[in-house]
Amino acid sequence: MSHLEVSDLVAGYVRGLPVVHGVSLGVARREIVTLVGPNGAGKSTVLKAIAGLVWREGGRVRLDGRDLTALPAHEAVTSGIGFVPQTGNVFTTLTVHENLTVGAHVIRGALHDRLERAYALFAPLAARRAARARTLSGGERQMLGIARALMTEPSVLMLDEPTAGLAPRVVEDVFRRLRGLAESGIAVLMVEQNAKAALRASDRGYVLAEGCNRAAGSARELLEDPSVAEAFLGGRRITRC
C-alpha cells in the first residue's frame, strides 16, 4: 500500500462546483511521482485538497493508513504533510530565518538543530539568513519554500510547479535535490507544467485532464506513450470521471 493514498477525490474552490471529479493516486516512500496534464486539469486543486485548503466533497485521503480527509488545513502538517504552493510559497515580509522558524510552528521546543540542518542542506540560504525573503532570487525563493516545508520533517512533500520561472540550470538543481530528499525516505508528489523534464526526474506519473485520471504508469512509459500526448489535447467537458 502506498504511503499517501488518494481515492476518488472530489474537490473544488467553491462548494458545489468541483474541479476534481474523482481522482485517485498513490505515492510510496522514496519515490517521486509527478502529476501532469493540460491547464485546468485540476492538478493544483488535487494538491490543495490533500493539504485541506479547498473544499473536499468526496473521496478519501489516507496517510500511512490514517484517514486525513476531515482534517482542517492547519492540522495536515502535524500528520506529516509538507506543501510548497506554487505562488506565495514564502513569506516575503519575513526574513529567511523567520520563514524557517514559522515553518516549524508546530514543533515545540528548540529549533536550533533543525535550523542548522536546513542551512546545511540549502547552503545558499545560510548566507542570507537575515535577508527578507522579498529580496531573494527566484531560485533562492524556491529553495526557501522547500526548506520551509521540510522543517517539520514531513513524510510526504507536495510541490506545486516547483520549477516555474526558473532557469534550466536551477531546474536541474531542484530535481536533483528532490531526488536526494526522496532517497532520504520522503514520498515526493509534484505537479509540473514542464511535463517532460519532470517525468524524466520522476519514478512514476499520473496524467490528469479535466479533473479525472487519464493515464498512469512509470515515468518512462508515460514519456514513450503516444496516447499521453493525445490526453493533453483532449477537449471534452465532463462532470464525472
Partner: protein, 298 residues
C-alpha cells in the same frame, strides 16, 4: 507656530498610532474594516475611569498630573479591554466567520456592534466630559514657541515603549512571527500549521489592549467623553492604510503622519475642518499608493 504644530502633531500621532496598530492587524488578518475598533478606545478609557473613581488618580508625581495609580488603572483597563474585545469577537464575529460570512457582512456587524458599544457608555456615564484628574498642569517650553504639557511627553514616551515591546514580541517570539505570517498570507500560514482562529483571538486581544492605552491617553489630554474613540475612527483607518496593512512600523509612521497632517493643516484652514484631514489623506493614499508606505502590492 510651525514648531508647535509639529510638536502637537507628534503627540496626537502617538495616540493615533497605538489605535492604528490594532486596525492594521485586523485589516490584514481578518480582512475587514472593523468599525467597532474605535469603541475599544472608548471602553478602555472608561474602564480606567472606574478604577480611578475608586483609587483616585494618585497624587501628582513630579510634573505629571497623576500618580502611579492612574498607570495601574490603565494597565488594568488594557487587560479588561483585551478580554472584552475577545468577548465581542466570540459573541458576534466568530459566529459570522464560522458561517463563512463575507467581509462586508462583518463590516455591517461592526457598525451595529459599534453603535451598541458606544451608547452603552452613554447609558452608564452620560454625555458629559470626564476627567481623570483635576490637577492643572503648567506647560513646559521645550524650545522657543513650542510648549507641551509634561503629561503629553510622558504619554508619547509610554506609547513608544509599548510599541517597542510589541515589536519585540512580533519579531522575536514564535507566536508573534505566526501573527505576522498570517497577516501576510493566511493560506501559507495554515500550511505551516498555524491555526487561523488562534491568531484571530490574539489579534483581538492585542488590539483591545493597545486601544485601551490609546483611550486612556486621549482621555488624559485633556478629557474623556463617549465620542472619543469614534472621533478618531477616520484617523485610525487613515493611519493604518497609509502605513500599509499588516505592518507595525507602518501603523506607527502612519499615525505620526496623520497627527502631523491634522495639526499642520490648522496653520492653513479653520479648526472646524480638522476632522476632514484624515479623510483627505486617506483618499490621496488610496489613489496614489493603495498598498501604503510599507505594504506589498497585490
Amino acid at each position: 507656530m510651525l514648531g508647535q504644530a509639529i510638536a502637537d502633531g507628534i503627540l496626537t500621532g502617538a495616540i493615533i498610532a497605538l489605535g492604528a496598530i490594532g486596525v492594521t492587524f485586523t485589516l490584514a488578518i481578518m480582512r475587514f474594516a472593523n468599525f467597532a475598533h474605535s469603541e475599544l478606545l472608548t471602553w478602555g478609557g472608561y474602564i480606567a475611569l472606574v478604577f480611578v473613581a475608586f483609587a483616585g488618580p494618585g497624587a501628582p508625581t513630579g510634573p505629571l498630573s497623576f500618580g502611579w495609580q492612574l498607570l495601574a488603572a490603565a494597565v488594568i483597563a488594557a487587560v479588561l479591554t483585551g478580554l472584552a474585545a475577545w468577548g465581542v469577537d466570540a459573541l458576534v464575529f466568530r459566529r459570522l466567520r464560522r458561517r463563512g460570512a463575507q467581509p462586508l457582512t462583518m463590516v455591517f456587524a461592526a457598525f451595529g456592534a459599534a453603535l451598541v458599544m458606544r451608547h452603552l457608555v452613554v447609558l452608564v456615564w452620560g454625555h458629559e466630559s470626564r476627567f481623570y484628574t483635576r490637577e492643572l498642569q503648567i506647560a513646559v517650553e521645550l524650545w522657543p514657541g513650542v510648549r507641551v504639557l509634561p503629561d503629553q511627553i510622558f504619554i508619547a514616551g509610554l506609547a513608544l515603549a509599548v510599541t517597542v515591546l510589541l515589536h519585540g514580541f512580533l519579531t522575536r517570539s514564535r507566536t508573534g512571527m505566526a501573527m505576522r505570517a498570517m497577516a501576510e498570507s493566511p493560506a501559507l500560514a495554515q500550511v505551516c500549521g498555524i491555526e487561523v482562529e488562534a491568531v484571530v483571538r490574539l489579534t483581538w486581544i492585542i488590539s483591545g489592549t493597545l486601544a485601551a492605552f490609546a483611550g486612556v491617553f486621549a482621555g488624559l489630554t485633556p478629557q474623556l467623553h463617549p465620542e472619543i474613540g469614534f472621533n478618531l475612527l477616520l484617523s485610525l483607518f487613515a493611519a493604518a492604510i497609509l502605513g500599509g496593512t499588516g505592518s507595525l512600523p507602518g501603523a506607527v509612521l502612519g499615525g505620526l503622519l496623520v497627527g502631523l497632517a491634522e495639526n499642520l493643516s490648522l496653520l492653513l484652514i479653520s479648526p472646524g475642518y480638522k476632522g476632514a484631514m484624515p479623510f483627505l489623506l486617506l483618499l490621496v493614499i488610496l489613489i496614489v499608493r493603495p498598498q501604503g508606505l510599507f505594504g506589498e502590492r497585490g
